[in-house]
C-alpha cells in the first residue's frame, strides 16, 4: 500500500469519524476531534512561522539588496508579547496589545465608514422613476427597506406610533433578508457535503464515475 492509498483510507476514516457525531458524541469522534485540534494548532503555528516570521521579518531585514527596517517594529512588539511568559514583566505585553487595538480601531473605522456607510447611502439615493413601473417599484422597495431598517436600529427613541410602524416594517425587511440568506445558505451547505460524498463514493470507493 503506497502513501496515497494509505492517505485516502485515513481520510475516509476521519471523514466517517466526524460524521458519526451526528448520531451522538462517541469515542471515535472524540479522538478525531483531538487529532484535529492538535494538527490544526500545529498547522497554524508552522504557517505563521514561515509565512509571517520568516517571510515578513527575517527575509525582509536580511534582504541583501534592500534591507527593510519597518519589520523590526513588529519584531520588538512581538517580543514584548512574549513577556506574558514571565510573571514579573508580563504587563509589558499590554503595549503591543494597545498598539494593535489602537491601529485596528483607527484603520477599520475608516474602512467601514466608507464601504458600509458612505457608499451604501450613495447607492440607496436612487431616482424613483427611471422609465419603467417595475423599476420604480424595485427602487421604492430598496429605499423604503433601507429607511425603515435604519429606523429599527434607533436606540434613543421609543418604537411607538408612526416611528414604531416604520421600525416594524424595518423588521419585516430584516426578516426577509434573513430568510433569503438562510435559503441561499442551505444550498451552499448541501454542496459541502456533496464534496465529501464525492470523496467517499468516488475517490475512495470508486463507485461513481
Amino acid at each position: 500500500m503506497d502513501w496515497t492509498t494509505f492517505g485516502v483510507w485515513l481520510a475516509a476514516v476521519f471523514t466517517l469519524g466526524i460524521i458519526s457525531f451526528l448520531y451522538r458524541d462517541n469515542i471515535f469522534y472524540k479522538l478525531c476531534e483531538a487529532i484535529f485540534v492538535g494538527i490544526s494548532a500545529g498547522y497554524w503555528l508552522i504557517t505563521f512561522f514561515w509565512d509571517n516570521l520568516y517571510s515578513k521579518f527575517y527575509s525582509q531585514v536580511t534582504d541583501p539588496v534592500d534591507p527593510q527596517w519597518t519589520p523590526w517594529i513588529g519584531f520588538v512588539l512581538g517580543a514584548l508579547m512574549l513577556t506574558r511568559l514571565f510573571e514579573k514583566i508580563g504587563w509589558l505585553s499590554r503595549w503591543p496589545l494597545a498598539f494593535i487595538i489602537g491601529a485596528t480601531a483607527g484603520v477599520y473605522m475608516m474602512f467601514y465608514f466608507v464601504s458600509n456607510a458612505m457608499l451604501q447611502v450613495s447607492a440607496t439615493i436612487l431616482p424613483i422613476y427611471t422609465g419603467s413601473i417595475s423599476g420604480a417599484i424595485s427602487n421604492l422597495f430598496i429605499i423604503v427597506g433601507t429607511f425603515c431598517g435604519l429606523i429599527y436600529f434607533f436606540f434613543s427613541k421609543e418604537h411607538k406610533g408612526a416611528f414604531g410602524g416604520a421600525a416594524k416594517i424595518g423588521i419585516w425587511f430584516l426578516m426577509a433578508t434573513f430568510g433569503a440568506s438562510f435559503g441561499y445558505t442551505v444550498m451552499s451547505r448541501m454542496s459541502l457535503m456533496l464534496g465529501r460524498l464525492d470523496f467517499l463514493f468516488g475517490q475512495w470507493l470508486g463507485l461513481i464515475k
Binding site: 466526524i18 457525531f21 458524541d25 469522534y29 472524540k30 478525531c32 476531534e33 484535529f36 485540534v37 494538527i39 490544526s40 494548532a41 498547522y43 497554524w44 505563521f48 508579547m81 506574558r84 499590554r94 496589545l97 494593535i100 487595538i101 491601529a103 485596528t104 480601531a105 477599520y108 473605522m109 467601514y112 465608514f113 466608507v114 456607510a117 458612505m118 457608499l119 447611502v121 450613495s122 447607492a123 440607496t124 439615493i125 436612487l126 431616482p127 424613483i128 422613476y129 429605499i143 433601507t146 429607511f147 435604519l150 429606523i151 436600529f153 434607533f154 436606540f155 434613543s156 427613541k157 421609543e158 418604537h159 430584516l174 433578508t177 434573513f178 430568510g179 440568506s181 438562510f182 445558505t185
Partner: protein, 416 residues
C-alpha cells in the same frame, strides 16, 4: 523534324540546346534569386501607406491626491485607430531631458487614449512622447514596424499631496459623526440623561447568567474566530468584561475557549480583572480562558465536544463568526442551553436568529457593552450614533427626491 530526331538530336542542335539551356537556367537562376529577394523585401520593408497618423493633443498631468510617483498621459486617438486600421498600439517614451534619450515606459492597446506611468520618481521632471505603432508579425516575429511619434511634451513632475481632496466628503462625514458622538458623551458626563430603548438580547444577559447559577452549571463565552485586528473582537472583549463581572458576582464559572492567542491574552486580563473588581480574586482560575486552535473548524469541533460533554446552561456567542456559527449554535441548542448571540457578520445573522434564543443584530452588538455598563458616558455615545443615523436617513430622503428630479446627489457620498 521526326520524332526520332527529337529523341536523338544531332550534335549541332544538341550544342545549341545546351547553350540555350545554360543561358536559360542562368537567367532563371537570376530571376528566381531576384524574386525571392523581392518577397523578402516586401516583408521587410513595409508596403507604402501603412504608417499611422500620430495621436494628437498629448497631455501629461500629475495624478492628484496620491503619494506621488504617477503621471497620467492622455491623447486623442489617431484617426487610423479603428478595427483593421493602421494603429496596433501606442507606446509611451520618457526622458528626463527634452532632447535626451527616450526610453519606453509602457504601451496601451489600440482604442485606449491614456496611460499611467507609475514608474516616475516623485519630484523628477520628465518629458514624454507618444508613438502610434503599426507592425507586421510573421511566424511570431516582427518583420517590420513603423511608427510616428509626437513631439515631446513636458516637463512634468509628479508630486505627493498632503490631503486627499477626493476624500473630503468622507472627512466631513467622519468629523460630523465623531463630533456628535463626542458631544453627547460630554453632555452625558455633564449630567444629561438620555432615553435608551430596551434591547431584548441585552436585557436577558443577567437572566441568562442567573439561570446558570440556579442550575449550578457553567457559562461559555465564545468570542468569535477573528483576532484582535477586528473591531468585532474588540467589542466582544468589552462585552466579556461585563458578562464575566456578572458571573463573578453570582459565583458562576465562566469558560472562555478562544481561537486566537492574542484574544487569549486579552481575555485572561479581562476575566481576572472582573473577579478582582467584584472582590473575589480567589475564585478566579487560570484555566478559565484557554486557547484551542487557530483553525476555524478545528475550533468548532473542539467547542462542539466541550458543549456536549460539559453541558453549559448558558452560551454567549459574541464577535466575528463565519460558517462555524451554526455548528456551534445548533449543538448549543441540542443541549438545551440558553444562547445569546451577537455578530456584525450579515451572512451569519440568520443562523443565530434561527438557533439562538436572542440575537444582537450588527449595531446592537456594538451597543451592548455601553448598554450593560449603564455608564452615562457610554450611553451618550449611542445617542451620538443615532444622530449619525438620522443624518443618513435625511440624506437618503432628500437625495431620493432631488435625484428623482434629475439632480445628481448620490455623487456626494461616493468615494474614490
Amino acid at each position: 523534324m521526326t520524332e526520332e530526331s527529337w529523341i536523338l538530336p544531332n550534335k549541332k542542335t544538341a550544342l545549341v540546346v545546351l547553350i540555350l539551356l545554360c543561358c536559360f537556367s542562368y537567367t532563371a537562376g537570376q530571376t528566381s534569386d531576384d524574386s525571392l529577394n523581392i518577397v523578402k523585401d516586401s516583408l521587410l520593408t513595409p508596403p507604402p501607406d501603412v504608417t499611422p497618423v500620430m495621436p494628437k493633443n498629448v497631455t501629461a498631468e500629475d495624478i492628484p491626491n496620491d503619494a506621488g510617483g504617477s503621471i497620467r498621459i492622455t491623447w486623442d486617438l489617431s484617426p487610423d485607430d479603428h478595427v483593421g486600421g493602421k494603429v496596433k498600439e501606442y507606446r509611451i517614451y520618457r526622458s528626463d531631458q527634452i532632447d535626451g534619450d527616450y526610453e519606453e515606459v509602457g504601451a496601451s492597446m489600440m482604442g485606449q487614449a491614456g496611460f499611467t506611468d507609475n514608474s516616475a520618481e516623485t519630484g523628477n521632471q520628465y518629458f514624454y512622447k507618444v508613438a502610434a505603432i503599426n507592425y507586421q508579425l510573421f511566424n511570431g516575429e516582427t518583420v517590420w514596424q513603423v511608427m510616428s511619434e509626437t513631439d515631446p511634451i513636458g516637463p512634468m513632475k509628479s508630486t505627493a499631496q498632503w490631503f486627499n481632496m477626493d476624500r473630503l466628503n468622507v472627512f466631513i462625514g467622519i468629523i460630523i459623526l465623531c463630533g456628535s458622538i463626542i458631544y453627547f458623551i460630554l453632555a452625558a458626563k455633564g449630567g444629561k440623561k438620555f432615553y435608551i430603548r430596551k434591547i431584548a438580547g441585552i436585557e436577558e444577559v443577567e437572566n441568562a447568567v442567573g439561570r446558570a447559577t440556579e442550575m449550578g452549571r457553567s457559562i461559555y463565552y465564545i468570542p468569535g474566530i477573528n483576532d484582535m485586528d477586528d473591531v468585532q473582537t474588540l467589542a466582544s472583549m468589552t462585552i466579556l468584561g461585563k458578562v464575566s463581572e456578572i458571573a463573578a458576582q453570582n459565583d458562576t464559572r465562566i469558560d472562555v475557549p478562544v481561537s486566537r492567542s492574542m484574544v487569549m491574552v486579552t481575555a485572561k486580563e479581562i476575566v481576572k480583572e472582573s473577579y478582582s473588581k467584584v472582590g473575589r480574586p480567589d475564585a478566579h482560575q487560570e484555566d478559565q480562558v484557554r486557547y484551542l486552535t487557530d483553525d476555524q473548524f478545528g475550533y468548532a469541533a473542539a467547542i462542539d465536544g466541550l458543549f456536549i460533554r460539559e453541558k453549559p446552561a448558558t452560551i454567549f456567542l459574541m464577535g466575528a463568526f463565519f460558517a462555524e456559527s451554526l455548528i456551534m449554535a445548533e449543538t448549543g441548542n441540542s443541549i438545551g442551553a440558553i444562547q445569546i448571540a451577537g455578530t456584525a457578520m450579515p451572512a451569519q445573522l440568520p443562523f443565530f436568529v434561527a438557533a439562538c434564543d436572542f440575537t444582537l443584530i450588527g449595531e446592537e452588538m456594538f451597543a451592548a457593552s455601553a448598554y450593560l455598563s449603564r455608564e452615562p458616558k457610554l450611553l451618550g455615545s449611542l445617542k451620538g450614533q443615532d444622530v449619525g443615523k438620522a443624518i443618513f436617513i435625511l440624506a437618503i430622503l432628500i437625495g431620493v427626491i432631488l435625484e428623482s428630479f434629475g439632480v445628481d446627489v448620490s455623487r456626494l457620498f461616493s468615494v474614490r
